[in-house]
C-alpha cells in the first residue's frame, strides 16, 4: 500500500505525488469523478497506474492509501 498525495493542479488537472519516492506526475484519467463517487483507477502520464478505493470527492489536496496496479508488479 503506497501512500500517495493528489492535488488540484494550477492548470486544472490533478497531480500525483508519491512522497516516498519523491515522484511527481500528472493524472491523465481517473475512473470515477463525481461528487459522490471519486477514485478508482488512476492513469498517470508516466505510464503508471494506481488504484484508490472510491470515496466521496475529497478536498483539493489529500493523501490516500493506493495500490499500484497489479500488472505493473
Amino acid at each position: 500500500m503506497a501512500n500517495i498525495m493528489i492535488r488540484q493542479a494550477e492548470s486544472g488537472g490533478l497531480t500525483f505525488y508519491l512522497p516516498k519516492r519523491d515522484l511527481e506526475a500528472s493524472i491523465e484519467s481517473i475512473e470515477f469523478d463525481t461528487p459522490e463517487k471519486w477514485g478508482g483507477e488512476l492513469k498517470l502520464d508516466n505510464g503508471g497506474s494506481y488504484y484508490i478505493d472510491p470515496i466521496a470527492k475529497p478536498p483539493p489536496s489529500a493523501h490516500f492509501p493506493a495500490r499500484q496496479a497489479p500488472w505493473r508488479g
Binding site: 519523491d22 502520464d45 489536496s61
Partner: protein
C-alpha cells in the same frame, strides 16, 4: 558566439563523453540532454537525483548541508548544533550569507558555529552525554535563544547515538524546543534529501506547536516559503508583498524565527519560492491546514509582474488594485534600468549551473536584459524541477544534471558563453579561461537579486562582470606577439 542546432548539441554531448570508460559514458549520457520544449515530461530526456559516480568531480553537498546549511541554519533565534566533528560546521560557517537583524551571540545566532566537536573517545563511547552537557552549557551562556536543533553529522548515524532521547530530556529541562534532526551526510544522494529531512523535522517538532492558540489574523496573511534571505533577498520580496497590501507573517527561513514558523499554519496562502527545498512542508500545510501554496518567481520584471498578478488573484479587489499600482509605480524604474543596461548586454550568452531554483528562475531576468541562457543545470534537482525548466529554456539548449567538473569545462570551452553563473568552486577555473563568472549561490557577495530593487542590482552586477576589461587581457604579452605575427603571416 554559437547557437548550436539540435544535432550539433547532441554531437557535442557525445564528443565530451568520449573520454569516459564505456560504463560511465552510458550513465552520464542519461544526465545530459538537449532541451526540447515539446516534451512534457523531463523524465523522457533527462535523469536526475541519482547517485554521483565515484571518480568524477561532483559539485554536490551532503544531507547535513541541506538541513543545517539551507533549511534550519537561517532560523536566527535558534541555536543549531552541528553534532559531530568540528569541520562540517566550521568550514561552512556563515558561507551562505543569510542576512538577519539581531544581535549575534545575544538573541540571534545565524553566523555562529556551535559544534559538539567529536573526538575519538566520543566515537568509541558515544556522544550522548556530551550533547546533553552541550545543551546545558548553551542554556547558561545564551539564555535568550528560543530553541535548539541538533543537526547530525555522519558519525552520529554510524555509531547509533540516540539524539532523540537526549533532545526530549533536554527540552523538558530547559523548557524550550530541542529538535533532533537525522540529517547525517551519508543519507541520500545530495543535499536534496537533507531538505526533505529538515522539512519533516519541522513538521514533526515545530509546525503544530501553536495549533489552537489565540491568534489575531487578517484575510491577507501570507508566508514566504523557501527564501533564505541571501544578500537580503527575502527583505526585497517582503517589501513588494507588503506594498501589495499583504501581511507577511513568516519568512521561511531567511531572517526567520521559530515563532514565525509556529504561526505559519494560520496564514491564508503560502508563497513558495524555492520549490525544491520546501515543497514538502508546503504540501503538508496544504493537506493538514488547507493552506494553498503558490510557486512564484521574483527575478526580473517580467516574472515579477507575472507573479504579483498571480498572487493577487488569490485575494480580493483591493489587493488587485494595489498590485496594479505597485506594478505601475516600479515600471519607470525598470524601464530606466533596461534602457541603461540592455544595449550593453544585448545578445550576451550565459551558462548556468546552480542548485535549487535558480537554474530556471533567473532565466527571465537575463532575458529581460536581452541576454540568452544557452545551458543550464542543477546540482540536485529532481524530475519535477526539470519539468518546470524545459518550458523556460530555449529549444536545443543544453541541460546538464549533476554535471561533472570535466563536462562543465568542456561544454564551456565549446559553447563559449560570454559569462558563466555558478559557484565558488567553478569561479576561478572559468575566470582563468577568460570567462567572467558570477556566483549565483551567494550573488558573489552582492545582492539582493529578488524583487524590483534586486533587479537593479542584478543588472548592474552582470554589467560589471561582462564589461570588466581584465578578461580581454588574459593572454600574456609575449604570447600576444606570437599571435599577432601569426595573424600577419596568415
Amino acid at each position: 558566439m554559437t547557437t548550436l542546432s539540435r544535432e550539433e548539441t547532441d554531437a557535442l554531448i557525445a564528443e565530451v563523453l568520449e573520454v569516459y570508460p564505456e560504463k560511465a559514458q552510458k550513465d552520464r549520457k542519461k544526465h545530459l540532454a538537449v532541451n526540447d520544449q515539446t516534451i512534457e515530461q523531463s523524465k523522457k530526456c533527462i535523469t536526475s537525483n541519482r547517485k554521483s559516480l565515484p571518480g568524477v568531480m561532483t559539485i554536490r553537498g551532503c544531507a547535513y548541508a541541506g538541513s543545517k546549511g539551507v533549511v534550519w541554519g537561517p532560523i536566527k533565534d535558534m541555536i543549531h548544533i552541528s553534532h559531530g566533528p568540528v569541520g562540517c560546521g566550521q568550514y561552512s560557517r556563515a558561507g551562505r550569507r543569510n542576512y538577519y537583524v539581531g544581535t549575534t551571540g545575544v538573541d540571534s545566532f545565524g553566523t555562529m558555529n556551535f559544534t559538539s566537536d567529536f573526538q575519538e573517545k566520543d566515537i568509541v563511547f558515544g556522544g550522548d552525554k556530551k550533547l546533553a552537557k552541550l545543551i546545558e552549557e548553551i542554556e547558561q551562556l545564551f539564555p535568550l535563544h528560543r530553541g535548539i536543533s541538533v543537526q547530525s553529522e555522519c558519525p552520529i548515524g554510524l555509531i547509533g547515538d540516540d539524539i532523540e532521547s537526549v533532545s526530549k530530556k533536554a527540552a523538558a529541562v530547559i523548557e524550550k524546543p530541542v529538535v533532533p534532526v537525522r540529517c547525517e551526510g551519508f543519507r541520500g544522494v545530495s543535499q536534496s534529501l537533507g531538505h526533505h529531512i529538515a522539512n519533516d523535522a519541522i513538521r514533526d517538532w515545530v509546525l503544530d506547536k501553536r495549533d489552537g492558540a489565540a491568534y489575531e489574523g487578517t484575510p491577507y496573511d501570507v508566508a514566504i516559503i523557501g527564501d533564505y534571505n541571501i544578500g537580503g533577498d527575502a527583505w526585497a520580496t517582503r517589501i513588494l508583498l507588503e506594498e501589495m497590501g499583504l501581511r507577511v507573517v513568516a519568512q521561511w527561513s531567511g531572517d526567520g524565527t521559530l515563532a514565525e514558523m509556529m504561526n505559519t499554519p494560520k496564514v491564508k496562502l503560502n508563497l513558495l519560492h524555492c520549490y525544491r527545498s520546501m515543497n514538502y512542508i508546503s504540501r503538508h500545510m496544504e493537506e493538514k491546514y488547507g493552506i494553498p501554496y503558490l510557486e512564484y518567481n521574483f527575478f526580473g520584471p517580467t516574472k515579477i509582474i507575472e507573479s504579483l498578478r498571480k498572487i493577487a488573484a488569490f485575494f480580493d479587489d483591493s489587493i488587485k488594485e494595489k498590485t496594479e499600482a505597485v506594478i505601475a509605480r516600479y515600471q519607470p524604474m525598470m524601464d530606466e534600468i533596461i534602457a541603461k543596461y540592455k544595449p550593453r548586454l544585448q545578445g550576451k550568452k550565459v551558462m548556468l549551473y546552480v542548485g535549487g531554483l535558480r537554474p530556471r528562475h533567473v532565466i527571465g531576468a537575463y532575458e529581460d536584459l536581452g541576454m540568452e541562457v544557452i545551458g543550464t543545470g542543477y546540482e540536485f534537482a529532481h524530475n519535477d524541477d526539470y519539468d518546470r525548466t524545459i518550458k523556460e529554456m530555449g529549444d536545443a539548449t543544453l541541460l546538464y544534471d549533476d554535471v561533472t567538473g570535466f563536462e562543465l569545462e568542456e561544454f564551456v570551452k565549446r559553447l563559449k558563453p560570454d559569462m558563466v553563473g555558478s559557484g565558488i568552486k567553478e569561479k576561478y577555473i572559468f575566470q582563468k579561461m577568460g570567462i567572467p563568472l558570477r556566483q549565483m549561490h551567494s550573488w558573489d557577495y552582492s545582492g539582493p537579486y529578488h524583487g524590483y530593487d534586486g533587479f537593479a542590482i542584478f543588472a548592474r552586477d552582470m554589467d560589471i562582470a561582462l564589461s570588466n576589461p581584465t578578461f580581454k587581457n588574459l593572454t600574456p604579452p609575449w604570447k600576444k606577439v606570437v599571435e599577432d605575427e601569426a595573424k600577419k603571416a596568415a
